[in-house]
Amino acid sequence: MIEVILMGIFVGGVYGIVGLGLSLIFTGIRYTMNVSHGQMVVLGCYLSFSTVTLLRLDPLLSALVVLPVVFCIGLALQYSLINRVMLREPAGRIPLILGIGLIVENFLLILYGPDAKSLTPYAPSYAGRSITLFGISLPFIYLIDFIAAMAAMIFVYIFLKYTFIGRAIRATSEDPITVNLFGVNDKRMYAITFGIGAVLAALGGIFVGLTYAFEPSYGHIYLGMAFSVIILGGIGSIRGALVGGVIVGLVQALASYYIGIAYAFLIQNLITLIVLYLKPEGIFGYEV
């Protein structure tokens, strides 16, 4: 029982960083809902898989290769494609992003085939192991998930709060026209924001790939997860993303333990729908 709760909380940290990426893109790029976020997660999984099999790296070290690549992909996507529809209202930008997600997903499908893959066999030193703490036995990878998620969130917090680019991103999210007067190019900031969001998704993807199996078509599941996270926790808040991730992880773990995995997703989506209707700004609300 306590194992189930802990596993839920720990894997919820990973959902939290995926949701944080979505939330960052939503607030940073003028309410752009990145519906290709799930595909970015799966892209992270597969790029890590390729790095691991080709360069024989450890999956955790593959982040050093995967994250810069995904950052460049995200940067290029926003700079060359999405920036051109920024004048439209937020819902009007969705078809374009949908098309991008479709291209990424089916590119992966053609390249790797539809079979499920996992990063676990490439990291036998820690991924397969269990760890016993105070009489509670947990798979070791869940602990790594949570520690990495916390580290990533603290890193994003420091980045947004104290670096120049981070402050420029926050300023752009508040007023994209005025920042131009202060020497910040808003379109460039959008591109960097999208890159960081995609990096967070891909980082989540690496840990998801270490924890579970993945397929090219799993993008929609992770988009649903990330959306639940930001709706439950609140859009535009790092704390909210963590809380939302933990709630989603807990609901998933408890519901699949007591009722069944299909109903776990059903309950998660129902809760999301109810919160979306009653309190769409989430638990923590709008704060960057």
Binding site: A91, I110, Y263, N269, L276, Y277
Partner: protein
């Protein structure tokens, strides 16, 4: 004033031509099964089914501006209701199709208070989450076979389905045309441009959106039931596939948003791609869908029909 009369005559003439074209098209469509093989019949059956879907999708998300990302929820729900009525209860095909359409309307009415109140992005994501709720509900429901799905036993040939789908497609085009030409269409366009301004001018936003929502749910459900009768098997992953929304968006964006003819052209293109690639190279067809969406949105945002309209009006302006 002179210009007005000229354009008036032009419209009258073009309406006549259009009338004969429509009648001719229907007669040809009725006679097609006599001369063509089953492959072509299947292609045209899918074309009509996708046309009905794309036409109401255009009505919902093009004219009224409510981007419904959870459109596949209705398609899958309609398919499942038909499967239940047809296979488990042993009802006649047409009766079960009618039941599935009615159930979709009831579902749309039941969810309307929850979903139509949401605006813009929240509507898009709200419908997507609702479709996920339906998906996981049917996945856990053992009466309809859970995650494995169930076969649909309906003793029909593809020729019967061809005629049924032809009727459905014509009905959907007709309904969309009537709505767009009437005052409701004007209200829809006003809502799509700015719903707060429309409300302040006395448009009942909720009722107008509800009308669109219900009509599109009806036709989406019927198209879903037609498709799954044709495929003979239904599973949650196939019924509530995001593919339905994506193909409707592709058809609408390719043919031209906010046109009546556009979704028809788009649907034909989508079905042609599907029949050519989807069976042998499943990734490639969807990749092309994605490329088309991106290219059309960026380069030709008005779609094919938008440019045809622009071309015709330019010629009309230039005079004979």
């Amino acid at each position: 004033m002179k210009k007005n009369t000229v354009s008036f005559e032009n419209i009258k003439l073009s309406k006549d031509i259009r009338f004969y074209l429509i009648i001719g098209g229907i007669i040809v469509a009725l006679l097609v099964p006599l001369g063509l093989g089953p492959d072509w019949i299947t292609l045209f059956f899918l074309f009509f089914t996708y046309t009905a879907m794309a036409e109401v999708y255009n009505l919902l998300s093009g004219y009224s501006g409510m981007l419904a990302l959870g459109f596949h929820g209705f398609v899958g729900f309609g398919g499942y209701i038909t499967a239940i009525a047809c296979t488990l209860w042993g009802l006649h095909l047409l009766v079960s199709m009618f039941i599935s359409g009615t159930m979709c309307v009831l579902l749309a009415l039941a969810t309307s208070f929850l979903i139509i109140k949401m605006r813009g992005l929240y509507f898009a994501m709200g419908t997507l989450v609702s479709a996920s709720v339906l998906f996981y509900w049917f996945q856990g429901w053992s009466y309809v076979g859970g995650g494995y799905g169930m076969p649909i036993v309906a003793h029909v040939t593809v020729y019967d389905l061809y005629y049924i789908s032809l009727v459905i497609a014509i009905a959907s085009i007709f309904v969309a045309y009537i709505i767009v030409q009437s005052r409701v269409g004007l209200r829809l366009k006003a809502i799509a441009d700015d719903d707060i301004a429309a409300e302040s001018y006395g448009v009942d936003v909720f009722k107008t959106k509800l009308l669109c929502w219900v009509i599109s749910s009806f036709f989406a459900g019927i198209s879903g039931s037609l498709y799954f009768i044709y495929s003979g098997f239904i599973s949650p992953a196939a019924a509530f596939a995001f593919y339905w929304t994506l193909s409707s968006i592709t058809a609408t964006v390719f043919g031209g948003v906010r046109t009546i003819l556009g979704p028809i052209i788009g649907a034909f293109f989508v079905v042609w791609l599907r029949q050519t690639f989807l069976v042998e190279f499943p990734g490639l067809a969807m990749l092309v869908y994605g490329v088309i969406i991106v290219a059309m949105v960026l380069v030709f945002p008005r779609g094919i029909m938008g440019y045809v309209h622009a071309f015709l009006t330019r010629r009309k302006m230039r005079g004979p």
